[in-house]
């Protein structure tokens, strides 16, 4: 597909005098560095994106915090920005996000880790070739579809089992968010387990270990930093999850740890405000930036930790 290129002369001056050759070379050098510059500009878009996110969030949050004190925002327990009297205590939203993430973790950690161990240690090659793409599809199903599933399937079933379950509740939302992040835990943990050197397994087998003992006492501890990373990244993903939570958990800011009740998460509040007719510059409008900033900081800190753990195991076994 690129044969002619191989025949291109090294400079564009073939068959002409030395001077022209040099000029050609100089032009080519200029072209080369222009291209290098253009490519760098594309890479710099990602830096601009980060700068843009931080600038926008901080700029509007500063305007918000001129009207509401940071202390009230971070320690207040009532969140009623859309009624009078307005209260801007973010704890109910933060608690909602944490509650959903906890339920999701309870579901996703055992399922994801079990899947990872099965795929990396036990699955026959042909079964694995089927299971991996299915998990990828599970990860690719849009969040709004999980929201539909939670509302029309999971919640009605849970209402039969769990007495006093609201139509909108944290439990159903947490369960589907948990299912959503199972593939993330499974694939990152499996990568970490696959990176454990063969010698470690062989050594354990030579000492008479069974497959189970190799999996649980050699491979899992050796892959631990990758596994922990997958948990952290999955919980961070669960905190940032939006549409499934909007649909299944409702829009009730509620400082509770009762999973049967309707709650509102940080993300759901942002959606609620942008669905309404909120004028630019109003305090409600500014509040989504303050909530967004909190969400961004929480997920960023978790992601940095998670990526740091990932790098650790990659360095160990690289």
């Amino acid at each position: 597909m690129s044969e002619p290129a191989l025949l291109d002369p090294p400079t564009h001056s073939a068959g002409t005098g030395r001077g022209r050759g040099l000029r050609g070379a100089r032009a080519r050098t200029a072209k080369e560095s222009a291209i290098g510059g253009a490519l760098f500009a594309a890479g710099a878009v990602s830096i601009l994106t980060t700068v843009g996110i931080i600038a926008v969030l901080v700029w509007e949050s500063v305007a918000f915090f001129r009207r509401v004190s940071i202390t009230e925002f971070l320690t207040g327990t009532v969140w009623t920005p859309l009624f009078v009297p307005q209260n801007f205590g973010v704890l109910p939203l933060l608690a909602g996000s944490i509650l959903v993430a906890l339920v999701a973790a309870v579901i996703a950690i055992p399922l994801g880790l079990g899947s990872a161990v099965y795929l990396s240690e036990f699955a026959p090659v042909r079964l694995r070739a089927w299971l991996k793409p299915i998990l990828e599809i599970l990860a690719g199903v849009p969040s709004v579809v999980y929201g539909y599933f939670a509302l029309t399937f999971v919640t009605p079933i849970l209402q039969v089992i769990v007495p006093g379950l609201d139509m909108f509740n944290a439990l159903s939302a947490g369960i589907v968010v948990g299912i959503m992040v199972v593939p993330l835990i499974a694939s990152l943990s499996e990568d970490a387990m696959n990176a454990v050197p063969r010698e470690l397994r062989d050594g354990a087998y030579a000492l008479g270990s069974t497959k189970f003992e190799v999996a649980t006492r050699v491979v899992t501890p050796a892959a631990l930093s990758g596994i922990v990373a997958s948990f952290i990244l999955a919980i961070s993903r669960a905190i940032g999850e939006t549409m499934a939570v909007v649909l299944a958990a409702g829009m009730t800011p509620n400082l509770t740890f009762d999973v049967r009740e309707s709650i509102q998460t940080l993300t759901a509040y942002i959606v609620q405000v942008s669905l309404g007719d909120t004028p630019f510059g109003s305090i409600e409008y500014q509040s989504i930036f303050a909530v967004g900033l909190l969400l961004f900081v929480v997920t960023l800190v978790m992601n940095i930790f998670g990526l740091w753990f990932l790098r650790r195991y990659r360095e160990e076994y690289a």
């Binding site: 291209i35 830096i47 996110i53 699955a123 579809v145």
Partner: protein, 296 residues
Amino acid sequence: MSGKRRSLEAPPELVARRRRGKVFQALCLAATLVGVVTLVVLLADVLVDGVKWLSPTFFTEFPSRLPARAGIKSALYGTVWLMGLVALISFPIGVAAAVWLEEYAGKGWLRTAIQTNISNLAGVPSIVYGILGLAIFVRWMFALTGGRSVISGALTISLLVLPILIIAGQEAIRAVPNSIREASYGLGATKWQTVRHHVLPNAMPGILTGTILALSRAIGETAPLIMIGALTFIAFVPEGPRDQFTVLSIQVYNWVSRPQDDFRGLAAAAIIVLLALLLSMNALAIWLRNRYRKEW
């Protein structure tokens, strides 16, 4: 005699250890199957609820207050517009950034900074991109984008999928063996000639696979588009990038959030269309990956 035979059998302690292993293996298999079964149940749930709403008019009608007359025409057009623009914007930037990182950046601090930044951006919740899009593309660049328009949505979603695209592009470029680059340099080619004529053509199937997967992520995105104000009820088709729009996923959200059963059925039908698009994109990506897989 009996003592000898016993020594050939596994000692009871080992039998117990093996049994524990079997139980553990079965538990791990069960954990894996929960995901598979959930996917099957989810698909079945959607099909059962939605299939009867899939009629030809469902594709040719605008949304309506009357469920029997409602369709996804505006959402389909909006989705095609949005995906087309996202592909046009994100593909060149993503590939260029991947080439810079892999071929030009060297090993300095700048590369480390941008690479770390990209990994972190990949983990930023999608709704935060929506906030960025609302402030920058809808408000700040209003004169250019026309506010709550297809192009604002496309720019927002492009920023969202860029990290995925760049990382996939880098993997594809890294998979091209160095011997190819060295042969090209050996014949006197410059860096850009080498990249343009050898590295990129060889990496292209991988890059395209990554692009399709990134777009299949984009097609289901809802929250950032709600943020930038893609409307939930639109009875016209966008005719230019500065027009207002809606997309399939937002149409789904709109219908799910209504209490009447008929609208839930419409939502399920729209989900079937959305998942059909998404799965065909995934299938195309897998096919591309297998078709052009190279063993070096």
